[in-house]
Symmetry: C2
Subunit: 191 residues, 2 copies
């Protein structure tokens, strides 16, 4: 039995959202499961000194165009939400509060809410409403949940996760939706 | 007749080097030529606040692995040179000093010298030796050449070029070797 793929992402990351639409089918073609691991890009950016794409001169303008073009390329419904980007702390906590079997369904509806329906999932109230559609009522201010979420995010950064999406298969890291081709070849066998 | 593709790159950029091995064949499949436009990433980084990849925590370590893996993926001979990265001002000047028909051949031998043979093309003497193999004897300190090179680099940044490789086809920009798939689809028709 092959070990699952680790899929790190931030709920505010367009490329993370695009990857989320494709990762399970890709993994399944090679008999793999996927472990979804939301993290907070802000924590990674503290380690790397990076800044959110829209704030960067030249690159920010390019990024907006590339988000939209990439979504068309991969045939995924997408809009640039407003506001963008946002803190996804509440979304991240809601994910880790959920029972295992509801985590991935919750991640999918959170992504869709933000990148398709333009719901600001940076706001706790919106996260709670979305969670409720799956019968979930997380206490987003619970200290144990805060600690667990922080530990997950710290563990991601400690493992070297600096961007979104960031995928690890058998110890080999792949950063970006645009590494899916290399990831797929790796799943056939290391090269 | 379709207009040529603009191919911006820095001679010290591994992804620029990889792209240089593939861009002409790709363009030719769609009846396009390629205009090679070396620039200096340092000038772009001043505009964006970016730093050379190897200096960035987490991302730098990943980048080294990704350079090597990407070279294997694209089946291109490659090593991480030492020193890396370097200033490619002299290489850039030598390119713009060359007559049009020798610019691309010179770019190719400069790239090969650095990324295959580990020759430090940051040093003017090495650039001159390489240029001499093509019968070229540029005066790298000529003021008109300095001005021309600077103007080319400034024009690139003014156009929005912030990374390497950066390709523009009919006004549409593509950053990165990993956008070649989107570039190829665009050459079949905008999407």
């Amino acid at each position: 039995m092959n070990s699952p793929i680790d899929f790190y992402f931030d709920f505010s990351s367009p490329y993370g959202y695009l990857a989320a639409q494709k990762i399970e089918a890709l993994a399944a073609r090679y008999g793999r499961g996927v472990t979804w691991r939301p993290m907070l890009l802000g924590a990674a950016f503290k380690a790397t000194g990076a800044a959110p794409l829209p704030t960067i001169p030249l690159k920010g303008e390019y990024a907006k165009r590339d988000f939209l073009r990439s979504a068309r390329f991969y045939d995924v419904p997408f809009r640039i939400p407003d506001p963008f980007p946002i803190s996804t702390l509440h979304a991240c906590r809601a994910f880790y509060a959920a029972p295992a079997e509801k985590q991935v369904p919750l991640a999918k509806v959170l992504f869709k809410a933000y990148f398709v329906d333009n719901v600001n999932i940076g706001e706790a109230d919106n996260v709670l409403k979305i969670a409720a559609t799956l019968g979930l009522k997380p206490d987003l201010n619970d200290q144990a949940l805060k600690d667990k979420t922080r530990a997950e995010v710290d563990a991601a950064v400690a493992r070297g996760v600096f961007g979104s999406p960031y995928i690890v298969v058998d110890g080999e890291p792949f950063w970006g939706m645009d590494r899916f081709e290399q990831l797929e070849r790796w799943l056939r066998g290391p090269f």
